[in-house]
Symmetry: C2
Subunit: 292 residues, 2 copies
């Protein structure tokens, strides 16, 4: 069986609908809000990484779908809560009203809580995966998305607003805020394939860390160089919010060079993985070259 | 080894500190907010039920501590988010400023998210418990605290504000909002003891459902008959918020009779449990007779 991006995205979207409909005896308005935000998804980068790492490591892609969807649910909840007025106060998300603009703050809050909780329920729906590996997945996803991981990154981000740019701080924010969930994705893919080999797990980590950082740097570049139509969100928002960015810190040219360097490091790390890694190499290159 | 309430509470509080300190390399302000709310805990009803059901079913109480603490973290996160301005907008919680009054809305939001996430990480820290039972625990806690459970109850609660009292609706709100997490507690206690016997699990469910409903009815009674000092929160808040309550629906006397009836049903269900259930019978009676 071969997979390409379109095939992965179709599998992921179908599975997400299944897991979201299966809780339909819950309360409709919050379920609607959860579905609204999940359907207004982006490029499904994280779940695709789960599936492809599982495949490259010799696992069955279909078995990994609950893990892939769980990561996407965590990502989506974090965007819903991030957009709330007490956080970034963003009215738009990917060209549509953000969840709280559409459903009100209370339901957006609960939709985020609901997705966070459903993510862990979804992990337990994995079939043909050992219980001990499901427990490893719960541990990896909770620790990497918790206050030592993604949430920790949001906290430093809040604390650093109006602060002075600092390379180490920025790398730390990124490593946690964006990078932690990308690391969770590759880790869950390996776990779904039953991988315990430390060399493989370390290579997966290096790949994740490199593309995570490159992804954020490209985001910062696009916030300066792209247009609102291309991005589906207002450009210049970093400037408006007085956020510390890599572009402010290093300048555009150095940022582009750094993104390239990180992409090469990611591709290099793939040598330690067992299967055909052409997809993952292309993936890293495409993330760095994206225009929106 | 014998246990009483004080011994249980000491064990639970010690374990909570351990699990909260173990994430100390996260960001301090959110960790402070998480600790503040967990330490301002109530009677530790839920974690105590986890431990005692584990003991009654022949399990080792110490092994069940991660499960007990996970339930308390879920309970605490739900209170933090419930108190937020976009929800109940409560400034006080158990006689102290609520989390967002103390730390600000953004950090209270993240502290709730952090506790929710940490609850699942804590489940995976269980030792001497089979992986398959940890997976059962993740499944039970996530489904009972999600949109089919506790969150679902909060949604109906929001939807029913300013609505007309209706016995079926109230029972449904309660079954989900308060009852679901009490059910999760007894279920996790049974799972920690490795119970798979359906008769025992059903008896545990009946006990949980009965004391959960009785607990809420007594809450409604106290909101009318107690004083702000006794409760540590303003009395009459249900009236102020125009909330549907059992007292409004049935009157005080009928509520007291119903609470007694439910308590008897809970005690009756204990006959199907294997061990000495005197503690659980006293517990049910004390919940019904409490004055705050």
């Amino acid at each position: 069986m071969t997979y390409d991006k379109e095939k992965y995205i179709a599998l992921i979207n179908d599975a997400l609908e299944t897991y979201l409909y299966s809780v339909a005896d819950g309360q409709d308005i919050v379920l609607d809000a959860m579905r609204y935000s999940v359907r207004n998804g982006g490029k499904r980068v994280r779940p695709m990484l789960v599936l492809e790492f599982c495949r490259v490591c010799g696992g069955n892609v279909e078995n990994a779908l609950p893990f892939a969807c769980a990561v996407e649910m965590i990502h989506t909840y974090s965007l819903i809560h991030d957009d709330l007025p007490c956080m970034d106060d963003d009215d738009m998300r990917r060209g549509k009203p953000s969840c709280h603009k559409q459903f009100g703050e209370a339901y957006a809050l609960l939709a985020g809580d609901g997705l966070l909780t459903l993510a862990f329920e979804t992990l337990t729906r994995a079939e043909n995966i050992e219980s001990s590996d499901i427990v490893r997945a719960v541990k990896a996803l909770s620790s990497l998305s918790g206050i030592r991981g993604m949430i920790g990154g949001q906290v430093i981000d809040l604390l650093s607003e109006d602060g002075k740019p600092d390379d180490a701080l920025l790398r730390r924010i990124d490593r946690l805020k964006t990078g932690a969930l990308i690391q969770a994705s590759v880790r869950l893919g390996c776990i779904a394939a039953g991988v315990t080999d430390e060399t493989i797990l370390r290579a997966a980590d290096v790949y994740a860390e490199s593309i995570g950082l490159a992804f954020q740097i490209v985001d910062d570049i696009l916030d300066v160089t792209s247009s609102t139509e291309m991005l589906g969100k207002p450009v210049g928002s970093d400037e408006k919010n007085d956020k510390v960015t890599f572009v402010k810190l290093l300048g555009l040219e150095k940022c582009k060079a750094l993104a390239d360097e990180l992409t090469q490091a990611a591709v290099q790390a793939l040598n330690d993985l067992p299967g055909d890694t052409a997809f993952l190499a292309d993936f890293a290159n495409a993330l760095a070259a994206r225009k929106h």
